[in-house]
Symmetry: C5
Subunit: 297 residues, 5 copies
């Protein structure tokens, strides 16, 4: 996540960090070269592009905007749903801590470090990191299975609470309150896996990519005949908008990655860890993660 | 589901696998032939299409884009809701496994293989496969009724748990936690059946199909008079976008089929099976399903 | 609901059943006549419509498309929400059956035929049929009140279950599980009543109907001067799209009626009845409802 | 709420009741006068508006349509959410009645008339009526506080049920089922208050009002030069659509008022009262509210 | 939040308070100067901008409107979700008060002042105020930790209720009803933190800011050649709409700030305080917050 104050006039004009511009600069340069070639050709042989008019391009451009807006929306929704799921994880951990607050110190520690380990494990799982290692940093002796270590950790906590209930140390209703939060954590995990494993349909992205490319490549020829050197302005502006939104959509589509606009999973896992440890009464907490450059990961 | 990395420039230009292009190639060829005929006719008799102008086509094209975007949205929502429902099934199975984790081995096995069988049965049911056979592969002696075998399996698990409660082997509250997950599984089944059995209103699809066809067939005549051979570019671009989105919408509308962009039900059922068996402590798990070509089913 | 396979090229071109075309044919004919009159007038006195241009009509047409798309969306959402509610009814009935599966045969029969009667009563209520008769076909001796027979049936089942709990025949927690499903059924009923009794604001539909009519009536005059006989093509295409979507919106707005694109309430109530009877172990089930023509009701 | 059958061709052409037209007639007349003045000026001095063209107005008009569609959407969502909340109130009252159906007659009466009083009090509160009086009509001796009488009534019912539980007359689980419905009623109240007290951001409405006014005032000058007397048609059609949607948005934005398209709170409160009294076995129920003119309030 | 009656014709024309105009006046002035310069240049050297036409600007302007509408939507949704969360807080506090209404006076006071303190603390937290001080004003001796004082307050209440349950002073089920509301309050806090800490992706806002600026700066040159002094009208209207929506989006994006259109957190916290104190039977309540100027904060 990019952590910057709202851009003032100066940043709007010149900011590069946080901008999508560097990522699409190459494509814009190609389009600019083609536009220059088209203008030169039109000047050399005035009648060359006389027939091709801008009107059908208005139609295609607006249709394309409508469909790109749809894909954009879908990608943004994925990103925001990912953020909501991690927000649910924060809620679940806090309510879990509240609901175990009269258990013995050892039981509480097991549950609360388990919650911190769950968050760290999930972050590692979603980012392709070392999931068992991330869990082990927080909770010693956590069960490690090959198939799904993060869920196995939750399974262990749940089994432990069931045992507490069977031994009569917590009332069945009290157990159900705790288990409710574990269920919420399972929801977060499966929800994140759903977003991470199921991208927007490939054919969809491909179709829009292709149409946008062909449109931006053909536009200079439609304008060069009448606009002359002014052609560069609308062509670059349209290409900047279309390619920029396209590249942003690619980043937001998979919100758990490490690109600048992705969600700061590690920072959120650290926040959860800090809160859990503070509730356990620990004095020296690990510091919150700081952004590198302007980017919090 | 098509499993491919994000397309680079090369794939954008030339990828055929995963593209919707092969499916609509025939229609595009027809449109291209008509456009060529229109240009030839316009060249032979210059005044032939002089009267017909592109302006009303801009209006129709944009209106059509707005309505197609609406249908597209509805189809995508169906696809994504189907995915969410299967994500809920994963959650329900994991929480179910956690909540029965202190039962006897035999009871647990019955419930967990039942969950795996439910997922397999639901996948077969939604894809028109052999539902009782799919269930029987996982749980021996499952009740098989003609009307709804997958729900009958769930009914059996629920009845078994009720009996456990009546015999005092699990507390009523504990039983309600288990039953809550069975209810979630029933929600998934009926939600999937709703999507599978209730398509987008037929008249709606027909209306948009027809308008898109007539629009693409008439467009060449509107452009041929002024654009000459340039006519081919916007006509093919518009047809590619409209027919492509249309064909994609058809695939996403019924997300449980076997077409390339449909949901990988079998792979998800296998994932659930693997997780359930791992929790039961089995060592040799069936391997996860691998994509055939680029498509995971 | 129209039950047809996806339309092939032939159906797209010529299907009448399932199409909205017959319903708007009269209006299209009027528009066609006006367009022909406009063209004839323009040919007779060439300067007559010279001043009126197509550009403001592009503006109005696109604005109208945006607003019609909004109404369309609202109507489709009502239709889909209605379907979701009936899906919830299926879920509630199945979970209810599971949760009473260890009661005595007589108790179970009372609850399950009650569920079937509730579905039939709700369908009759929403379609203006004979509600008490529909209920009585399934459950003998059901309470019949003038104000709300379907809710009175649910009230009776709930009271019966409360009595079972007070007599100690089911545990309070078990009773709460059953009552949860009855609450879900009450949600379905009130949700359906909400959709049936509260149409899209009348002024809204009237405003859009009027604008669409005036637009389609005026369009021929804007185009006749320049397009000549080509005028008919865009005018009819635009009128077909606008009137067609309008008529479809009218059908979807009230999804519980008997028009071709409405929801198949009777068929769904029959499905519920069949599943409930199968769970009760009955052998000769009533057959599922078959579509008449292509329409399932 | 306007209660009329779907408009036929005749109503579409001439209906005034239910139309937004009377409310915006003054503004349309002003626009018409300006348009006439512009045409007369253009005829008197032909070159006067020669320079101003319709093209930038197409751009502004479409942009404005997109943004108005957004505000419209937000207003409609508020209206529909208000309706959903009152639908939830119906559900809560019915389920509440079912769940207290085995209490003593006196207890049941207290709860059920309390529910009817809650609905009447909420309607009065949202419409700025006499809240304590509305409540007192249904339940004698209800607590009246200055701050929030409707919530105080609910508080009283809740306290009474808690007392019943403490005295052992209802089981704790049974009490939780009753309290669940009271919570749902509290949700409805706070949800309605949210909509009533928080309008769409003022600056937003102001910005769109202003842009729409300036656009409609300037449009005649852009068209008068080329369209002559035809100018009136598009100008009035655009003004009718924009002003009409604007006025409708204003009505839907605050759905609890007394304007024609607002929700029929009093009629819904009466429905709830009738159902509660029927469940109590009363014979002479107050009649359902009838629409005045075509409007149900 | 701006508290003003619906604007009449006079306010629409001249209102400054509540308008976004003062905030963007500087930018509009710059655009006006550039437009004047462009017109003067076009008059001085008539052929200067002859080549640049308005058509590509129509395309870019509509595409930009579609994408700005998307950002606008996202910002409005954040604002409305923030309001919904605070509405949930009201619900949670009222239901909490109802559910503890038979506890001893001292216990009730602890819980109800705790709820008021939670609301005040959350408001301070979201606005960067002094969180521990805001809490301490309501509840003496509340636990103050560095990491998260507002959640620590909730943790304290939860722990207290658990102790009440363990001591047998409230039944486990009754405890679960109370804890349910505490969970709802934790949901509100984490939901608000999510909105406050995760802005709309920075690159997104930057891209749209940039495109809007370049578009408005370039538009005068496209129109000056043909429209002459009329250029000012569409240029200023477009700039007003685009910059105005942009500035409004910036305000709504972070709905918890102190700008005019932000949510009135302090007023809502005061409302909760008043209701809690009234339920405790206190006679002299603090007055509701009054708007300053037209703005309630």
């Amino acid at each position: 996540m990019i952590v910057r104050p709202k851009p003032g006039l100066w940043e709007v004009a010149f900011a590069l960090s946080g901008s999508i511009l560097p990522r699409i600069a190459g494509r814009l340069a190609v389009i600019a070269l083609i536009a220059i070639a088209a203008v030169l050709a039109a000047e050399a042989r005035p009648g060359l592009f006389a027939q091709i008019s801008a009107i059908p391009f208005t139609l295609i451009g607006i249709a394309l905007s409508i469909f790109m807006s749809f894909r954009n929306n879908a990608c943004y929704d994925r990103w925001w749903e990912g953020r909501k799921l991690w927000g649910s994880l924060v809620i679940a951990c806090r309510s879990l801590a509240r609901r175990v607050s009269i258990l013995d110190e050892a039981e509480r520690r097991l549950v609360l470090t388990g919650a911190a380990g769950f968050a760290a494990g999930l972050a590692a799982r979603l980012r392709g990191g070392d999931e068992p290692a991330a869990i082990a940093r927080h909770c010693e002796g956590a069960p490690v299975t090959a198939v799904n270590p993060t869920d196995a950790l939750l399974h262990g906590i749940g089994q432990h609470c069931l045992t507490l209930m069977r031994e009569g140390r917590i009332a069945p209703i009290h157990h159900s309150l705790i288990e409710e939060q574990l269920h919420l954590m399972a929801q977060v995990q499966a929800g994140c896996e759903r977003i991470a494993l199921t991208p927007v349909p490939f054919s969809y992205s491909l179709l829009l990519h292709r149409t946008a490319y062909i449109f931006c490549l053909a536009l200079p020829f439609a304008l060069a005949g009448t606009l002359g050197w002014w052609t560069l302005l609308p062509v670059l502006l349209v290409s900047y908008t279309f390619f920029g939104l396209d590249a942003l959509g690619d980043q937001l589509e998979d919100p758990f990655g490490l690109e600048p606009n992705d969600l700061p999973l590690d920072a959120m896992a650290r926040t959860i860890e800090r809160e859990m440890l503070a509730i356990l009464g620990e004095a020296d907490l690990p510091p919150p993660l700081a952004p590198e450059g302007d980017v919090l990961r």
